[in-house]
């Protein structure tokens, strides 16, 4: 894909400079996919920091036995908020909304997504949903205390402000659906000449699979959450056991979306990692088609495993066995990706630049997250581990160790392209140590405590768990200091970073053929693709 030469002369102003309007309006009225991506980036990072702050407070509460800094009801609201903010406002939009918006059109050689105005609308839905979610804290009966899963019948009985919170999630679902529709259509219609399906960068394949999951799964959470509101307002009884309704059906409907949503979170993360690994191993990706089709396989199989969240809800033996089997199956395509990444590294000339460091950590942490997931897929083990800290540790390994690390790896990888500024690479590497060490102190301890029987969502703990909680809390301090160094480094780079080259990493996909930051229309002329992706020349032969 080196067909288009890097233009040394800036014929066109970059997307950060161009445009008739100035100030905030130039951003919130812009239909440029790159500006929308950056709008999402700043919103998401703000919510991420809020979520982190709540997480730190929860860890502080667990530092001593008995009430430390809050009462039980506050703790209930805290874990609900932490979940809602992290899942609906950071991890689910995460890579697609930020990196997908910014890079999908560039990676396929297009000037924008298929529906730029719809794209902006989806950002407005996101902001609207976020505002509603935040206002649910201060209005009505106080912040919701149901957990992010809003399980019935408690969610239809509690006096807290559940209706507004689920309505917020409903609106956020619209945002997700519109992004999915836009991406799938864009990938079908706007590929540059010669950009065949098997020449698509694998990040695009992962966005394609994600787009389908967003389109096909999100409406289910829409109707489920709408039913919670209808149930609370009109009392129709579908989830209310007092009227003959079945709360287990709520759980089914909830997880029919929320399990595929896990793949909305992880697929684009895997895609970003697949871009980063070949660039820093200077080697073509191993098993292109396997990685591409495993994204689609994960999306398909991942839609059939939702009930493994409900093995202890009383579903029946046969259903339990089927869902356990399917859960084991979905591990296969994920493992295929891991093997391919590792095989790509083999005999590569590996450069341990910051993006690569975070990407390799992703592989390590995702393996722990994935394998602990397989453990819970086993029925007998699941009964022991259900609703313990093991679950909390497991999904933080997947969502934070997986998607979170991939998000930061992708940000480190593409930041120079997005803003035309290079951050301090040494600081980014230094930040990695407290992040990685703190992360494992925090969440691996949770895995251990879970096996020993520490239940999740308790604001207090028994003496035998005290040491573990202290280790986890201290780990959270390491983690947060590392994150602050990492994010502060980006802020410093934005303010006074040195100018980034067009291709600082020696990447070969299309975004590295255009200036940093890219011009408004991305490409001066639409590129024609003549080579397969990840076409690296052997080192020493540029």
């Amino acid at each position: 894909m080196t067909a288009v030469a890097v233009t040394a002369v800036h014929a066109e102003p970059s997307f950060l400079e161009a445009g008739g309007r100035t100030g905030l309006l130039a951003w919130v009225l812009s239909t440029d996919h790159k500006r929308i991506g950056i709008l999402y980036l700043f919103c998401l990072l703000s919510f991420f920091l809020v979520g982190v702050a709540i997480g730190v407070l929860m860890r502080l509460e667990q530092l001593t036995m008995g009430p430390t800094i809050m009462q039980p009801q506050t703790y209930n609201a805290m874990f609900t908020l932490h979940g809602v903010i992290m899942i609906f406002l950071f991890v689910i939009p995460g890579l697609p909304a930020v990196m997908g918006n910014f890079f999908l059109p560039i990676l396929i050689g297009a000037k924008d997504v298929s529906f730029p105005r719809l794209n902006l609308l989806s950002w407005y839905f996101f902001v609207g949903g976020a505002i509603l979610a935040v206002s649910s804290l201060f209005t009505g009966g106080g912040p919701p205390d149901t957990g992010w899963s809003f399980y019935a019948p408690y969610s239809i009985r509690t006096g807290t402000n559940v209706s507004l919170a689920v309505f917020a999630a409903f609106i956020l679902g619209f945002s997700s659906i519109l992004t999915g529709i836009n991406f799938v259509t864009t990938i079908h219609r706007l590929r540059a000449p010669g950009m065949t399906w098997h020449r698509l960068p694998l990040f695009v394949w992962s966005l394609y699979a994600t787009g389908w999951v967003q389109v096909l799964a999100t409406p289910i959470i829409g109707i489920t959450l709408a039913l919670v509101i209808v149930e609370r307002v009109f009392g129709i009884g579908v989830f209310d056991p007092a009227k003959g309704g079945d709360p287990v059906l709520y759980q089914h409907l909830f997880w029919i979306y929320s399990h595929p949503a896990v793949y909305i979170m992880i697929l684009p993360a895997m895609g970003a990692i697949t871009e980063i690994i070949p660039t820093f191993a200077h080697r073509t990706i191993f098993g292109y088609r396997f990685i591409a089709y495993s994204s689609v396989a994960i999306a398909a199989l991942g839609s059939l495993v939702w009930a493994h969240h409900m093995f202890t809800s009383g579903m029946g033996e046969f259903a339990n066995m089927i869902f356990s089997l399917l859960t084991f199956l979905v591990a296969i395509p994920s493992a295929i990706k891991v093997f391919n990444w590792v095989a790509t590294l083999y005999k590569g000339s590996i450069e341990l630049e910051p993006p690569m460091l975070y990407a390799l950590s992703f592989i390590f942490l995702f393996c722990i997250g994935g394998l602990t997931g397989v453990m819970q897929g086993a029925l007998a083990v699941n009964v022991h581990l259900h609703d313990t800290y093991f679950i909390v540790g497991h999904f933080h390994y997947v969502m934070f160790g997986g998607t979170g690390f991939a998000f930061f790896a992708a940000l480190l990888y593409w930041f120079p392209k997005m803003f035309g500024k290079m951050y301090n690479r040494r600081t980014a590497t230094i930040a990695w140590f407290p992040i990685f060490i703190g992360f494992n102190m925090l969440y691996f301890t949770m895995l251990v405590m879970g096996v020993e029987g520490m239940p999740r969502r308790y604001y207090d703990h028994l003496p035998q768990f005290h040491a573990g909680h202290v280790v986890a809390t201290v780990g959270s301090w390491f983690l947060v200091s590392g994150l602050l160094i990492l994010l502060g480094n980006f802020v410093v780079a934005l303010l006074r970073g040195e100018k980034a080259e067009a291709n600082p990493w020696g990447g070969v996909s299309l975004e590295w053929t255009i200036p940093s930051p890219p011009p408004v229309e991305n490409f001066e002329e639409v590129p024609t693709i003549t080579q397969p992706p990840y076409h690296f020349n052997p080192v020493g032969h540029p």
Binding site: T31, K111, D112, S114, F115, P116, R117, L118, I177, G180, I181, N182, V184, T185, T186, H188, R189, L190, V215, L216, A217, T218, P219, I220, G222, I223, T224, L227, V230, F234, G235, I236, G237, V238, K243, G244, G245, D246, L249, H252, L253, I256
Partner: protein, 206 residues
């Protein structure tokens, strides 16, 4: 759905893209109702006799009349698209107006049907309803939710088609550019198709 690249100086119309996006959107609508269909199936298999008894109380005749009204509106919708394809703008507008009016007729019928139920003390969480067996409570809970959600979609469809009518009047939808009307029509047909499933599930459950 807006046409792609509308901000670009040279207007580039991608009909194929607009169609793909519309169909993806229709999938989401089907799955939205799909969640309710799952609930219906689960509760019907749990309470078959009560669903049968409750289904008997719905007015089969109004249900069938409303089905005919909606089917006719789908016909006029399709004819309206054919008309603009042949450049007959006035005819297209007339047929589109007929479609919107038939949608309104459907809603009026629905209103009287609901009101009749309310007068008999049957509405969600009503004291009268709660004395009945759980299967009937759920039947009527689902009936009001599903037909209510469908009615909201009819209203949304009527608003969309009214906008199309305005666009036709201003010649923003023309013989050589009618993708918006076609997509609006697809939405209207979807609303119709969902009703085709609601009719047997509730009115013919007896």
């Amino acid at each position: 759905m807006s046409s792609p690249g509308a901000h670009a100086p040279a207007v580039h119309r991608d009909y194929g893209g607009a169609k793909i996006a519309m169909w993806l959107f229709l999938f989401t609508e089907i799955i939205l109702f799909g969640g309710l269909f799952i609930l219906y199936s689960a509760y019907r298999s749990k309470y078959p006799h009560e669903f049968h008894a409750a289904g008997n109380e719905l007015n089969f005749v109004i249900g069938v009349i409303n089905t005919l009204v909606l089917l006719t509106s789908s016909l006029s919708m399709a004819l309206s698209i054919s008309a603009i394809q042949q450049g007959k703008r006035r005819q297209s507008m007339l047929l589109l107006a007929v479609t919107v009016v038939l949608g309104a007729v459907f809603l009026v019928n629905k209103y009287f049907e609901w009101m009749a139920k309310f007068h008999h003390g049957i509405y969600p969480n009503s004291p009268e309803l709660l004395q009945r067996p759980p299967g009937e409570v759920l039947f009527f809970g689902l009936y009001f939710t599903m037909t209510g959600l469908h009615a909201l979609h009819v209203i949304a469809g009527m608003i969309i088609l009214s906008i199309m009518l305005a666009l036709l009047a201003r010649e923003r939808i023309r013989q050589d550019d009618y993708i918006k009307l076609e997509n609006g029509g697809l939405y209207w047909h979807l609303v119709d198709v969902i009703w085709i499933f609601l009719l047997p599930l509730f009115y013919l459950a007896a």
